[in-house]
Structure formats: structure tokens, C-alpha cells
């Protein structure tokens, strides 16, 4: 290499170079807004609280709209999966709108975009290539976009020092995601049974605002380890969730509505999203008489951190203490689950527990190897079988983006699962973003059978226990606590909430037979 410096200077070739953002400087922090998105409005509002707490200006991108698909398609290469197109279009629409009002230069200087990167072989880790292409197409190559690795808590200071991905930020964001998950679970478990329509959404809004304030006022602890110790031991968040629980106490529910329970799985963005990006399928399912089990982001984070699953990723590790690292990861995984359970407990254990990752591996084993990476890997097969064996849901609805590489492979493997378990109700829904009727009608075909099963299971249970609706209503009048949204109905071995409720009253509360 030393010889190169002595060589004569040649005409410089006009070679292509990839997008590289200019530095985001520390002194810009007060004037520059961090944009982010990709989760639900609930998660994003709490994340905003974390960022505001750290003195960043931060704003989630507006929720995805159908028009974003068209905007995205115009700006990136053909053949992209719909999450790429939607999220690119979402960012582009925002930038276009802001530029129209304030000018491109203002937008380039006053906003930066923070997005997840690094997802191994899947296209998810390459979304930023599409964003960069869109910026080029919009004539905004000066706009800054930064990647947030999903598997590093402390990534240090970015170039310029404007963005510090450190322990207070990472743990704050993870904790806010966990709180977003448990509150979302609560929402979906309650809304189908609310007696006053709209009450759940109203309380939900108030709860999320309350949690935003909790994150905004999070006491900042000094140092990396101090922050970690505080997050792991404090009751600050469980107390806040306890207050949220009190808000939900006010909601009255009628659990004697047999509803098909539908477990949502699929590609990460598509399954998490609530809006036009997945045809608002969760709300649509509720309107069709289903209770939805939403997929927590926490399961994905659990998958990413699990020491057994991540073993192969450490194959290039140069660590001197691999055994110690492995043990530490095992401890970390236990602490993570413990934290999630503490949050669940604060909400009366109504949110679902995280599935055991080892069980998911074992369930998926004959069909899909757990070390196959990209997307949700073996988890889609594992989760479908977990719901089936544990009778957690009547039906599994897998949302798969058109041309999603990992999803198509696990859907293919599900053919083998279906051969082995023909009574598993499974609806793989391909989502293109612009074929709503087709997707929903496909889902409805399976949902019809799920609803029939839910009704049948409920009626058989009434018959078996000898209880009548009138007797239960009478009991409810005498014991109004069972009608509270936060009253925990234990899982009695059936998927349906109504069925479990009847069994619970019959067995645990010993309601007299008719």
C-alpha cells in the first residue's frame, strides 16, 4: 500500500458510491427532529416519550395510508415487498409534504430519519437502500438517515455526536416497546367484549398518554450499568402500568359473546402494523366477530436475543470467554422475560405470556430448522403449532407480504404441518397493499369455520356444565367484579373467551347448575 502513494495521479473515474449521510452534529440536536416509525401509534407515542426524555426532538411518521403505496412504487425499483414500498412511500410522502411547505433545504437540515437496519439475509435489513433511492428520486440526497442495529444496546456516538445510541436510549426504547405490547394485548382482549362501544379506545388513548408522560419523566440514571440496574430493579414502570390498570377497571365487558379467537402471525412489519398497510385486518376481524391476538414486538426481540437461537451468529466471535458470554445471554434472556411478566402482572396478567422460545423451536423442528434466518424464521410454524396445541386460538391468520422471501418458505412448510394437523385452521394471507377484497374474502372463508367452532365449543360447554345464560347473568349482577375488563379469566383449556368464562364460573366459582 505504501507504494501506491508514490504512483502518478491518474484521471479520477466517476465511480458510483452509496448514500452516506452527512454527520448529525451535537449542536444540532435542539433544532433537528428525529423521525421514526414502523410500529403502532401506541408504541411510537411511548418511544417518543423516551426520546423527549433524552432531550431529542422526535416525531413518529404519520400512520401508513393506502396512497403511500403508490408514492413508494414510483420511487423504488420494481419487485419490492409491500412493507418496503409502504414504508418508503410513507417517508417520501412526509418529506414531500414538509418540503412543499418549508422547502427542501429546511427539511434536509431540520429532520433526520432513524430506522432499523441489520437483519441478516432478509430484505428488511436492506430497506434503507430503498429509502436512499427514494431520497435520490425526490432530489433530497442531503437528507440524513441513520440505521439502528437491532442487536446492540450500546452503539455509541454517531458521527457528529448528534445521535447517541446508548444504554438510556436503548433500554428506554425496549421498555417502551414492552409497555406498548402489554397495553395492546389488553386492548384486543377487551374491545370485542365492551358493553359501551368506543369506551376501550377512549381509555386506550388516555392510557397511552399517561405512559408517554411516564417515559417523558423517566428519572435518568448515570452511566451504562447504573441505567441498566435501575431499569431492571425499579418499580417506576409497574406503578405507571398499575395506574393504567385502574383506568381499565372502569370498562364493563360482556364475556358471554362467543367469538372466534384469531392469532395473528406473519412478517414482522405487516403483523405489527395497524392500518391500510395490512388492510386494517385486525379491526376488520373484530368487526366480523373475532377476538384478535395481536403479535407482540417482544416476541421478536426475544427471538433476536435468545442464546440458543443466536448460537450460530457467534460463529465468527473472537471472544476469549464464549462460555461466559453464553451464560450472560442466558441470564439476560431470563431477566427479559421476567421484566415482561412484571409488566403483565401490573395489568392483572391479562396480556398473554411470551411463548417459550425453546418450545417454539421444538414444535417447528420437524418442519422448519430453527437456525434458518431471515424474517421470523421457524417462529411462524412454531407459533401456529403453539396456538394449536395449547388451544390459544381457533385460527391462525398469517400475514405475508407479496414476494416476502422468508415468509413464503415457512408458508410452504406449513403444507407439511397441515398434512399432519388437518384440523388446524390456518389462513395465510398474501398482502400486496392494493388487493383488499381478495385478501379479506380469503380470510373470511377460514374465519367462518373458526366462528362455528367457537360457537359450538361455547354451547357444548354450557350444556356440559349445566349453566344457563340467565344463571350467569344473575351471578354477574351479584358479583359485578367479574364484569370488569381487568377481571382475569383463567385459561380453562379452550380457545374461546366465552367458553373459558363459563367453565371458570362453573368450576372455580361453583355457580349452581340450572
Amino acid at each position: 500500500m505504501a507504494q501506491l502513494a508514490t504512483l502518478p495521479v491518474l484521471p479520477s473515474a466517476p465511480h458510483y458510491t452509496a448514500y452516506k449521510p452527512r454527520p448529525f452534529k451535537r449542536e444540532e440536536r435542539e433544532d433537528v427532529t428525529l423521525l421514526f416509525g414502523g410500529l403502532t401509534w401506541k408504541h411510537e407515542r411511548m418511544m417518543q416519550g423516551v426520546l423527549h426524555n433524552l432531550k431529542y426532538k422526535a416525531e413518529p411518521l404519520p400512520n401508513i395510508k393506502r396512497e403511500d403505496l403508490d408514492v413508494g412504487k414510483e420511487l423504488i425499483d420494481t419487485g419490492a415487498c409491500c412493507p418496503t414500498i409502504f414504508t418508503t412511500g410513507n417517508l417520501a410522502s412526509f418529506l414531500k409534504e414538509k418540503s412543499a411547505t418549508h422547502g427542501k433545504e429546511h427539511v434536509n437540515n431540520k429532520f433526520v430519519y432513524l430506522t432499523a437496519g441489520a437483519c441478516g439475509p432478509c430484505r428488511f435489513g436492506q430497506y434503507h437502500q430503498s429509502y436512499a433511492m427514494a431520497l435520490d428520486g425526490l432530489g433530497m440526497k442531503d437528507f440524513r438517515m441513520f440505521l439502528l442495529a437491532q442487536d446492540e444496546l450500546d452503539q455509541g456516538e454517531g458521527e457528529g455526536g448528534g445521535l447517541q445510541i446508548n444504554m438510556p436510549m436503548s433500554l428506554g426504547l425496549i421498555w417502551s416497546i414492552l409497555c406498548g405490547d402489554v397495553i395492546t394485548d389488553l386492548e384486543y382482549r377487551i374491545r370485542p367484549y365492551e358493553t359501551v362501544p368506543g369506551q376501550t379506545d377512549k381509555v386506550l388513548q388516555e392510557s397511552v398518554e399517561y405512559m408517554y408522560q411516564a417515559y417523558l419523566n423517566r428519572p435518568l440514571q448515570g452511566g451504562k450499568w447504573g441505567t441498566m440496574a435501575w431499569h431492571l430493579t425499579t418499580d417506576y414502570f409497574t406503578k405507571a402500568l398499575g395506574e393504567v390498570r385502574k383506568m381499565w377497571d372502569a370498562i364493563e365487558v360482556d364475556r358471554l359473546r362467543p367469538k372466534a379467537k384469531v392469532k395473528i402471525t406473519g412478517e414482522f412489519w405487516l403483523q405489527t402494523h395497524e392500518g391500510d398497510g395490512n388492510y386494517n385486518i385486525k379491526r376488520w376481524l373484530e368487526s366480523e366477530g373475532a377476538e384478535v391476538i395481536p403479535p407482540p414486538v417482544a416476541v421478536w426481540l426475544h427471538y433476536l436475543m435468545h442464546p440458543e437461537i443466536r448460537k450460530l451468529e457467534r460463529r465468527q466471535s473472537t471472544s476469549k470467554h464464549p462460555q461466559l458470554e453464553h451464560k450472560l445471554l442466558q441470564v439476560l434472556e431470563k431477566v427479559y422475560r421476567g421484566t415482561y411478566n412484571r409488566f403483565r402482572k401490573a395489568l392483572a396478567n391479562i396480556p398473554y405470556e411470551l411463548p417459550d422460545q425453546i418450545e417454539l423451536i421444538n414444535l417447528a423442528k420437524p418442519f422448519y430448522h430453527f437456525e434458518l434466518r431471515g424474517g421470523e424464521g421457524h417462529m411462524l410454524v412454531g407459533k401456529a403449532l403453539y396456538s394449536y396445541h395449547h388451544k390459544k386460538a381457533h385460527m391462525v391468520c398469517e400475514l405475508s407480504p407479496y414476494s416476502c422471501m422468508p415468509n413464503t418458505m415457512s408458508i410452504g412448510s406449513m403444507a407439511n404441518v397441515m398434512g399432519r394437523y388437518p384440523d388446524l385452521l390456518y389462513a395465510p394471507i398474501e398482502v400486496k397493499g392494493d388487493a383488499e377484497v381478495h385478501a379479506l374474502s380469503r380470510c373470511q372463508m377460514i374465519l367462518t369455520e373458526a366462528k362455528r367452532r367457537a360457537q359450538q365449543e361455547y354451547e357444548e360447554t354450557l350444556k356440559e356444565t349445566g349453566l344457563t345464560v340467565e344463571a350467569i347473568r344473575q351471578y354477574e349482577a351479584q358479583h359485578p367484579e367479574v364484569k370488569k375488563a381487568t377481571y382475569k379469566v383463567p385459561h380453562m383449556g379452550h380457545a374461546g373467551e366465552a367458553t373459558n368464562y363459563v367453565l371458570h364460573l362453573a368450576r372455580d366459582k361453583q355457580i349452581a347448575r340450572a
Binding site: H369, L372, N416
Partner: protein, 420 residues
Amino acid sequence: MRIPTLPTWFATKASSAPTKKDRSQVRVGIPKVLNVWSTHQFWVGFLKALGVQPENIIFSSDTSEEQGREHGKGRGTVDCCYPVKCISGHYGELVFGQKKKINVLLSPMLYSIPSVLRGNVVDTLTCTRVMAGPESVKAGFLKERDVFAEQGIKYASPFVSLGDPHCVTDQLYDGLKDVFELDKKETEHAVAAGYAALDAFNAKARGQSRKILEWCAINQKPCILVMARPYHMDTGIGHEIEGELQAHGYPVLWLQYLPGDLDLLNWLFEEDMRIGRCKNPFDINDVWTSSYSSNTNEIMWGAKVAARCPWITCVVRLSSYECGMDQPTFTPAQKIVEATGTLFFKFGDLDSTKPAGSVRIRIETITHYLSKYSEDIIRKKRAYLSDQGPLLEGEWPERPEVEAESPAPQEQQEQVISVV
């Protein structure tokens, strides 16, 4: 010194040579699909070292619509890209279409693969569909009943990261010990033999590519780089497009076998390293930051080499319909190639049917541009490089006079992108 005791004195001494079991009659079928196209020599070397006779290692034939119709019909489980979808036909051919039955169907799940870029990229993983393809395809043979068992075939699909040699013995031992009754020692020996065979083959193929470049340099003739994934060498997937170009007299190089010789690459990337654009000739961070996927990384690297090598005057990109790994690379790869005026043509959305008519028309267009602009492109790209190049060994023609900026001719830019 250790004092011998009776048990140690009479204990059976471990032999340094692996135990050899008789596997001469075992017939192993390997579907010739996806990344088997770039790793086949490993599997041949591995199986031969285990005692499987070369004539008993049976690769399925090239992909064809007939193969899918005859052997894969009704076995598909999902709609995806053709290179994965067609695997059902390959499995079917090995299961049902052999005069002499196979005993084992070996369809490895390749997690990572060897690459010349290793060490300079984040990882060398395969596409998610490549690694998981066997799981999806086998479902079509198991969903109603176990077809493999019915045919007396052992189905073996070891998970293996060939890009990480230190993991491979354990992975293949775990995945194949029951199939071949392996012991650890012989697995280790066979893995080493597999890598040796693969390395020897790759070195030979890269050497051939270098000879082509030398010939081009001496004769000041252009050649074409085919920028594609390994399975596009399959005549049923790549549709022999490169063969038609070759028939017009243009030598063809395949991306997977570009020479990796440092003397040549240091010369091509001399200026890049001097100004700090890249650390070494295998560094692609300047053009592709999310460098996880091995084949994608190599495509970006190949585009860089093509943009710099004077005699590669044309790049032909092949891409299959619905390829999610190719999709984000379309524009960057084209921009890399065209930045120095190199011709770029893309045959995109390739599927099961060969669009013979449109391919012929495109070939005519490509050869027209090659004949018209190659001389100029060679001259311009030569000007970016120092005089002392390795290919000619002092026989350089007179250094051409060129301007620093050399955009592609307008007419050429208008024609370069077109999809079959």
C-alpha cells in the same frame, strides 16, 4: 510422564486414519439447484471421501418445464421465485425418474457459502429462500404421505454453513450421521476433502477467466461479464442467454469465477485505494453497506470490477422473477457499471418459459452496441488505470489520450435498460 496402567496399556489405540465403511453401493441423489451450482464440488469431494463411488453421485438434470410437469406436478406448496419453485421437479426426478434407484436424497440447507469477499463484508449468507428452500419443497413430498419412505429413500437435509469451515464438520456429522453411519473423524476428513475439491475447481475456473482477460488485453478485444446468481448457469433458469452472446464471438466471464488475483485487482483498484474509497480490492463498503448476502455482495463486487476492467465492456445482468435479493440491487448495480461508460443490459423477471424471440432481439441489440462502442470503452477505461498492468506483461499498446469525464454516449444510455 504418564505412567501406563493396565487399562491404558491394553486400550485400543485411536487410529489417525478414519474408519472406512463400505459405501460403494450407496447411491446419492443431489438436486442441482440454487447454491449447489457454486458448491457442487464440495459435495462430490465430500461423498467420494466417504467412499461413495463417483458414478453413484447423481445430480438431477438441468431445470426444464418438462421436468416440472413430469416429476414435480402437484408437489408445489407455495408460489415463489422459479429457481426455488422448480426444485420440486428436481426432487421428483431423483425420486421417481431414476432407472437405478437412489438410496439417499441429499438436499443441503446452505446457510452461508464460501466467498472471495469473506473478511471484507458483514457476512456471506445465502438468500433466505436458498437456505430454507428444502424445508418448503420437502413439504410437497410429505404433506399427504411420506413419499421418500415409500420409495425407500433416506431424505437428508443437513443445515450447513459452508462459509464457516470450522462449523461444518459438526453440522454435517449431526445432519448425516444416521444416514451414512458416520463417525466424527471420517466426517472431518471428508469435509477437508470437500473443501480441497471445491478450492481446486474454483482456482481452475478463475484461472480460465484470467486467461480470457489476458487474451482480450493482448488483442484489445472486449468481453462480457454475466452478472447473475450461480443458478443462472442452469440452462432452464438462465435460458442460455450467455451462450447466444458467445455465439457472436464475444468471450463470456461469469461473476462467480472472476479472477481474484491480487496483482490484477490491485491494479484495477489502485486509484480507489489511493483516495481511500476502499481499503482493498475486495472492499464493497463504498457501494453496498448491508453486506450480508453472499451472492448479492459478489454481484456488487463484480459490478465494481466490471466498471474498472477495460476489456469488460458490457455487463449482462440476469435476474429471476420475484427475486427479493436482486430487487434492491437493480439500480445500484447498474449505476456502478455505467459510471465508467460500461454497457449494461438486464434480462429481468426470468421465469420458466424462455422468451426466445425477445431474447434474440435483445442479443442483436447487445452485439450491435458491443461492436460499435467497445473500442471506445476500452480506450476510456484504460485511461483511468496506470500503465503497468499485469495482463500484458509489458506489451501495452500506446496509452490513449482521454478526457477525465467520460459519460456514456447519449444513444447508449437510452438503450441500456430493458426487461424481457
